[in-house]
């Protein structure tokens, strides 16, 4: 009986420890895929997003040319986005972009920060970009949220970012 009680206490202590560690394994903030208001109703899903960022899909439904924007290759969100959407790290895309260059296609242009991404996408009708969901602000429309596995998430309340500024 006493042994059972000790075992129970150990279990409870273990559970408390796990509960204390839980925040360390919390899911990262979702990635918000953003466009200007002109394309807020565009039918884009994660598969289409992959084609856009591989520059295989070049046009919006109205025929205008899509302008995908990336963050710098060493930006933490770019690394997450590249792994989630393209399945490869930015440096692993190098050969692909060399081949596309030979066919006259360049990789997406780059902006230095999420704040710049928000400002550019809001002001550019044909642009598409991405920011941490907790950084969404201004006149951009969120097409959808992506989790770490590249799955589309429902629009949920996003916890605040650890860093305040995008």
């Amino acid at each position: 009986m006493r042994n059972a009680s000790i075992r129970m206490r150990r279990w409870l202590a273990g559970l408390c420890l796990l509960a204390a560690m839980a925040p360390l394994h919390a899911e990262p903030v979702p990635i918000a895929v953003i466009v200007a208001a002109e394309h807020a109703r565009e039918a884009i899903d994660p598969d289409a997003l992959t084609l856009i960022y591989r520059r295989k899909r070049l046009h919006w439904a109205d025929g205008s040319r899509i302008e995908p924007i990336n963050l710098p290759a060493d930006h933490p969100l770019r690394l997450r986005f590249s792994h989630t959407v393209l399945g490869l790290k930015p440096e692993q895309m190098q050969d692909y972009w060399n081949e596309m260059y030979f066919q006259g296609v360049s990789p997406p242009y780059v902006l230095a920060s999420e704040a710049a991404m928000l400002a550019f996408v809001a002001a550019t009708a044909n642009a598409i970009g991405y920011v941490s969901a907790c950084h969404v602000a201004g006149d951009v429309s969120v097409l959808f949220l992506l989790d770490e596995r590249g799955r589309r998430l429902p629009f949920v309340t996003v916890p605040p970012c650890a860093d305040s500024a995008p």
Binding site: D47, A48, L51, K56, R57, L58, H59, G63, S64, R65, E67, I69, N70, A73, L86, G87, L88, P90, E91, Q94, D95, W97, N98, E99, Y101, F102, Q103, G104, S106, P107, P108, Y109, V110, L111, A112, A116, A119, F120, A123, T124
Partner: protein
Amino acid sequence: MIALRRRQLWAALLAAGLVCANVQAFAQTDAAADEVPVPTPQPELPQNSDNRLARGYTVPGTRARIGGYGEVSFIDENDNAERWRATLDSISLLLNWDDGARWRFFAEVELEDSLILSPGDSTTDEAYVSLERLHVDYTRSDFLQLRVGKYLTPIGRWNLIHAAPLVWTTSRPLMTDSTFPTNATGAMIFGVVPLFHRAIDYSIYGSIGEELFPNPELDTFKEAYGIRLNYSFDVHTQIGTSFASFEQELTPDERKEMFGVDFVWKYHRWELQGEWVYRRLQQAAERADERGYYVQLVAPLSERLYAVARTEYLNKVDFDRGVHLQIGGLTWRYSPAWVFKAEYRYAVENDIGVDEGLLTSFAVLF
């Protein structure tokens, strides 16, 4: 009573107008205060690169981009009395422009064999300018695009990405330029179709000959049509298939049909690639008049050094037996733009006289 109500109405309208004007004024003031310049995106430069090579040069204020590549090679043949030959093989210029919407223009002009050095001799007599590509594209949608002009024949994988800095060896697999003309002048519809979470690229093309600025060394199409499909299974694997039916200028009464299959698999800097073609005369459909294949393996040895091995086979028309080639070498990718290659090529049953020996080259993408 009515007059009073009218005055009240006018007063209300006036008040509403003043409020709106004030709100608008405030909004304008706020907008002016918040107005910040929109940042300008920059082209992404290759990583680990200390310069702007490998992405071309964008003409300021336009949507035009100029780039290209060059290659210098050194070949030391086993059974040639002259022993070695150094060649400025190619200087190729790429010009690309789009209107930001549906139209696009692309051209590739190449200066080939502009200087050849061999023991006690040098010549520029074999130099010539070749128009590799010159086409205009119109996009109806990503699914349906139209190309008119001169383009690379969409057969197999190597022919479409043949630039020296983008391939692993100095020599080109024989079957990739022996069994079909590498360029076609005509029209093509092409596009990308999403399929099972991935994409299939297709090209359907036709040519009535009349090659634009034909390369004097090539037997060009007299009349041709064909189709190519390429499916990306995942980020690592692609499989393609090609079919073409054509006549060539030097053998105008011989209609040939060609079938091809190709694949590439890339994983953690390893690469396995291969192509297989089977060509037959339409009049004698039961047997091949030319067929071949190659399989190539690339293995990373260090961050920038790779080992390359390739086995090839080609049975050319009018030859009873085919040639087998074995190639082993090293490729040093100093950066995405600079590549140095060295390989040794060995042939068995070499009835067609393929160069054997050491082949080296230096290539740059700019």
